[in-house]
Amino acid sequence: MLGQPLLQVRELSKVFPVEGGRKLVAVDGVDLEIVAGETLALVGESGSGKSTVARCIVRLIEPSGGDVVIREESILRLQPSRLAGVYRKIQMVFQDPNASLNPRMSVRQVLDEPLKLHLYLLKSERAARVKELIEMVGLTAAHLDRYPHELSGGQRQRVGIARAIAVSPDIVILDEPTSSLDVSVRGQILDLLLDLQERLHLAYLFITHDLQVVQHVADRVAVMYLGGIVETGPTRDLFADPRHPYTRALLSAAPVARWGVKRTRTRLAGEIASAIDPPDACRLVGRCPLARPACASAKPPLLDIGAGRAVACPVVVG
């Protein structure tokens, strides 16, 4: 890997207490690294813990354990007063721009707020920056005086993106940014994100369940299942030759919008297991077609298989 990692997530875990003294393990020992300018996609189905990872990184949720390091500074050990400095480097775009934009603030106010909070600028400088931002995301100054309900879904997401890049972060966490959009708008938003990444040399942590989007935008992929990463590697290699049984099941289930594409599905039995008081075993145990007795007795670690790839399955690694 080239360069010093911008963001390092080490052994991150998040446990929620549930009634009866039981524990819901939402995130269980996740390691991630992102270098400047790259896109890492965090992929998984509902309940995999991918959004919890994102929220722990920016401390919208307090992690239960592990560490998050941004530019060699641990944000989990920082005093709250110093967190603002970290948020200048890392920003987030949410899935539903309806819910994440204040309905009583005009677009101008939405974009001005982070500038006021983070940057020491004159009023005239802020106004110029707001105008620059709105144009960077493909809207015009005319949109600045509108309120979120006067915008389309795609325009609202553009505003959400403009807000995230307002303070010139190094890294943007995108949590399902295109999932509530129509496909024709999805493409435009992805093009915008790729364009901004190139212009601003942004790194993205792209959280999504949409495998087409992953192939379109990501340099590397980490596949999550039930709180843990089961496979990681460069996007092209991982899609061409998925190794973990869960990755295979996931990729082979995704339909393709083309005529005459034949898929050979890898099937898993049943549905995702409960994350409450999980046993010390492979997360896929009970569903996996390749399971052996040893899979039920210890949780397999991510095993390095070379070429930047790792798989948490001793059965396929051999």
């Binding site: 129509d182 493409g187 087409q212 379109h216 996931l250 393709v256 919008a257 599905r265 049943g270």
Partner: protein
């Protein structure tokens, strides 16, 4: 051309705003569902695809005003039927599966009871026999331990399991001639979605059902449907065989929708 079970002819209408203005949203929609065929109605939000389907069963939003057109089922105009006439068609002849299955099920009755009640309503017989049919239907849609599951309430079902139960109700319990599915797998994970679509295809095939799949997901369409209707902004812009729509789309909007759905180059 094979026989059509349902024909929508020049269906038009719109909504009246608070200020009394009339906003047309359907501009003369026409399409046909051929007997025994799985037809997809595809389009993005606001295309009117769901509104037309809801109109078939007379459950369009009350604010919708029809201004013209006919919906012919076996030659009878459904729009001319009164509530009693519609009730004889709903479920028995045409049944529908909605996107959010857990919201479509009644939260205060067990899943088995709901299926059994519908069985009795359509086929009569005793309660015990109806519950037997309910359990058999759950088994048929691959719900594990159907006897136990039948005694559970909708909130104890996952989204995928609830959708299986709804499909069991709409196809096996109601035994209709036409099954309409409105975004049946939207919001479900892909692995679950794939299993549900396989179930729908298998049920349609073995029971000779005429099926209408309303969806925004062209990936699902390519794998399951024989015929496609493409809608945009209240109009049908193109109809044809699935193969023709995917390989030689003629309408500009169809071409755009298709290329937006294919972010990744063919392998």
């Amino acid at each position: 051309m094979s026989e059509a079970l349902l024909e929508i002819e020049d269906y038009r209408g719109g909504f009246r705003t608070e200020t009394g203005d009339f906003v047309p949203v359907l501009h003369g929609v026409s399409y046909r569902l051929k007997v025994g065929v799985m037809t997809a109605v595809v389009g993005e939000s606001g295309s009117g695809k769901s509104l037309v389907a809801l109109s078939v069963l007379g459950i369009q939003p009350p604010a919708f005003e029809r201004t013209g057109g006919r919906i012919l089922f076996r030659g009878t105009d459904l729009l001319g039927l009164d509530e009693k006439g519609l009730r004889a068609i709903r479920g028995a002849e045409i049944s529908m599966v909605f996107q959010d299955a857990r919201a479509a099920l009644n939260p205060v009755f067990t899943v088995g009871r709901q299926l059994a009640d519908v069985w009795q309503l359509h086929h009569g017989g005793g309660r015990k026999a109806a519950m037997g049919q309910a359990i058999e239907a759950l088994r048929r849609v691959s719900i594990p331990e159907p006897e136990r599951r039948a005694r559970q309430y909708p909130h104890e079902f996952s989204g995928g399991m609830a959708q299986r139960a709804m499909i069991a109700m709409a196809s096996l319990i109601c035994q209709p001639a036409l099954l309409i599915l409105d975004e049946p797998t939207t919001g479900l994970d892909v692995t679950i979605q794939s299993d549900i679509m396989e179930l729908i295809v298998e049920l349609s095939r073995t029971r000779g059902l005429t099926t209408c799949l309303i969806t925004h997901d062209l990936g699902v369409v390519a794998e399951t449907c024989q015929e496609v209707v493409v809608m945009n902004a209240g109009r049908v812009v193109e109809t044809g065989s699935a193969e023709a729509i995917f390989t030689t789309p003629r309408d500009l909007y169809t071409q755009r929708l298709l290329s937006a759905s294919q972010l990744v180059e063919a392998a």
